[in-house]
């Protein structure tokens, strides 16, 4: 860590007011007017990749608002958190979106939920809150009660998509047969080619962060964190626990770390198989869909064996896990995985030898490496564009240090390479589980003294099946969390669709959208409302039914 701090001072000079080393990261305080130049220094001088923007209503701590910009320094294996403190009466900060494209959503979120004004932001629209949300009401401020339900003005008035003679706006969603979640994409189409895409998501904003900060205690939050996403819920659960453990300096027993890693890998296998099935379905290759889900079923049984339930396992707490694994179940795990691997092998061979599948996947949905860096994409989407980013290697957590595995990287930047990354990862996951089972140490599964001091910061990243998931926590009084920020992987990946869909034939659009494995329930954790300034935004099913004839 000393090296990291030294390098930061070399690059940024006197702009750092103060620094603080936390587990897995360095927090630096800078003046609001220096922010843009500091961010430039981090991205250009140190190769930092944008991770998340966190807004904090710090009026209960030091009577200021905080805006924290997190960048991942993959080479130095650490995160750097740049914090600016803003005045409590009139919080304003300069936008960094012109130099870091990925920060677009993060800054809009801070503006929507905390009322921190972002000067010079290219997109003035609301991102997260529902249509008709009253102005000057910011749900994440501490004076807003979690159960307050402001009345929406004029929700759901009719929305007319834009059109011109050449470019037609085609609605895709919010309830589309190929999307299992309610999200709305507006594809701007010229002839058969997509030229632009607009996204209106956040239909699944349920207010989880507010709930975690106001009503729940430390050890209740993991269970709600698991409900952020039903597919990769355990990732959020682990990530939250690690963030609190990092903040409080709790040492988790080794056996608990192994169990966490085991379950995380089981989850990755089931999630990738699920995605492979859905991808086949989107291609119109339903045989593949059915086979992928058939192979996946024993993995669900395996999860039940290890944790007691098929989904939403609920085995994690701050400081360890609640449920041990016994020898019987481990034997069964090995047996089941062997069978899964055989069947999967056969499935993958057949899938990649179907000519139609390969032709649809190759060369579509291109995301060049330079754009991937600029948007800060994560997970298989980044690895399919030749970026070697994996939290398990870059910021090791749980028991991943003990296992040796390969990080599959493909540099063709198309849908095929994203598929191949996931295909390879399943093999790696199976091998990781085998290695961890062999080494599984004995001992306690829960740390003895779990005490969480107040107003400490913790930051943690976990590699979800969809990419890097990060949680930021400030601990609070009375066994509660003061601020809990969740940044799910799809949050960084969805904005990059603009690049992938550009000049892409319309028939490849659904596949490309599916290729990042978007998980909207993760992305939308907060509130649901969205407004385009000046025009009401809502698509009814009638518009949807008329698609193509707008």
């Amino acid at each position: 860590m000393v090296d990291v701090v030294k390098t930061l001072y070399e690059v940024l000079g006197g702009k750092i007011l103060r620094h603080e080393v936390i587990r897995d990261g360095v927090v630096i305080d800078v003046r609001p007017e220096d922010l843009v130049s500091v961010v430039k220094g981090i991205t250009e001088g140190l190769g930092g990749i944008y991770t998340v923007v966190v807004g904090v209503d710090g009026r209960g701590i030091d009577n200021t608002y905080h805006s924290i910009y997190v960048f991942s320094l993959d080479e130095l294996k650490t995160y750097v958190l740049i914090r600016v403190r803003l005045s409590p009466e009139d919080p304003k900060v300069e936008s960094i979106t012109p130099i870091v494209k990925g920060a677009n959503w993060g800054e809009r979120e801070v503006r929507d939920l905390l009322g921190i004004e972002v000067l010079g932001h290219p997109d003035p629209r609301t991102l997260i809150l529902p249509d008709g949300w009253p102005s000057n009401t910011y749900p994440l401020r501490k004076d807003f009660s979690y159960c307050e339900r402001p009345r929406l003005d004029n929700p759901g008035s009719n929305y007319v998509p834009q059109r011109s003679e050449e470019v037609v706006a085609l609605p895709y969603g919010p309830y589309h047969p190929l999307l299992h979640e309610p999200e709305y994409f507006e594809l701007h189409v010229k002839g058969e080619t997509v030229v632009d895409v607009e996204y209106r998501g956040f239909h699944v904003h349920r207010g989880i962060e507010k709930l975690g900060e106001s009503r729940l205690t430390y050890n209740q939050v993991p269970f709600v964190a698991e409900r952020i996403c039903g597919i990769c819920g355990f990732v959020h659960n682990v990530c939250y626990c690690q963030a609190v453990e990092n903040a409080a300096g709790i040492e988790v027993p080794e056996r608990a770390l192994y169990i966490r890693s085991l379950v995380l890998e089981v989850e990755r296998i089931h999630s990738h198989l699920l995605w492979l099935g859905v991808a086949c379905h989107v291609l119109g290759f339903d045989t593949g869909f059915m086979h992928a889900w058939r192979i996946r079923e024993p993995v669900m049984y395996l999860a039940e064996l290890l944790t007691g339930s098929r989904k939403t396992y609920g085995i994690n707490l701050v400081g360890g896990v609640r449920r041990d694994v016994n020898r019987d179940s481990i034997e069964k795990v090995v047996k089941i995985l062997k069978k899964v691997k055989e069947e999967y092998d056969h499935f993958v061979k057949s899938l990649t030898s179907v000519k139609e599948v390969v032709k649809r996947l190759e060369g579509s949905g291109i995301l060049p490496k330079s754009e991937a860096i600029s948007y800060g994409v994560v997970g298989p989407t980044a690895r399919g564009s030749g970026l070697k980013r994996d939290v398990r290697v870059d910021h090791p957590y749980a028991a991943y240090k003990e296992a040796s595995f390969r990080v599959p990287v493909y540099s063709e930047c198309d849908n095929m390479s994203r598929l191949l990354v996931r295909v390879d990862e399943v093999y790696e996951s199976i091998s990781i589980i085998d290695q961890l089972i062999d080494k599984l140490p004995s001992g306690p599964i829960m740390a003895e003294d779990v005490e969480v001091p107040e107003f400490r910061e913790g930051f943690s990243g976990v590699e979800a099946p969809r990419g890097e998931d990060v949680h930021y926590v400030i601990t609070g009084r009375f066994s509660k969390v003061y601020r809990w920020k969740v940044r799910a992987p799809s949050y960084n990946n969805i904005p990059a669709l603009k690049v992938m869909l550009h000049e892409c034939p319309l028939s490849d659009a659904p596949l490309t959208i599916a290729s990042i494995d978007p998980c909207f329930s993760c992305t939308d954790r907060l509130v649901v409302v969205d407004v385009l300034t000046g025009r009401k935004f809502r698509v009814d099913l009638r518009t949807l039914a008329r698609r193509g004839k707008l």
């Binding site: 529902p130 309830y175 309610p182 889900w293 989904k311 998980c519």
Partner: protein
């Protein structure tokens, strides 16, 4: 309850759920449980559907779309509420951006559109197991009998 004698076609509507219920619904349709053998089929439009599978606590953003979809289902229609969130709001029953479950949706429907409650089957669970979902649908079809009865208790 059994207005249908034969196959029912369902339309799946995620109203802000976390996906766990949704993947269990998909699971029910794939080879392991394979409900297509009972004639249950997932369709792409609510106009083709007999029943609506609702998951999630019904967020404010999705409410107008849910109502539209519900109105688009032809009579006689059936609602199958899957998961604790839809049945009673779950942990979200009083959060700022959700309605907090099916009962609130029905209240909105009655007050603003004058539509009575459609027949409803609730399948609680977080997420419900695939077997429970199949049981819920079978209950709607009148193939199995409900295992318990309820009495309303008024607390003064």
């Amino acid at each position: 309850m059994s207005v249908y004698r034969r196959s029912i076609w369902v339309f799946h509507l995620n109203t802000g759920s976390c996906n766990a219920c949704d993947i269990e619904i998909l699971d029910v349709l794939t080879p392991y449980h394979d409900v297509e053998r009972f004639g249950i089929k997932l369709v792409a439009s609510p106009r083709h559907a007999d029943a609506l599978l609702l998951t999630g606590p019904i967020t404010k953003e999705s409410l107008p779309k849910v109502i539209d979809a519900l109105l688009a289902v032809p009579e006689p229609k059936l609602v199958i509420a899957i998961g604790s969130c839809t049945c009673g709001g779950g942990i979200w029953y009083d959060t700022y951006s959700t309605l907090g479950g099916l009962n609130e949706l029905y209240r909105v429907l009655k007050e603003e559109y004058g539509i009575p409650e459609p027949p409803t089957v609730k399948v609680p669970g977080c997420p419900p197991r695939p077997e429970a979902i199949i049981y819920g649908v079978a209950l709607a079809l009148g193939i199995v009998k409900q295992k318990y009865s309820t009495t309303k208790v008024r607390v003064e």
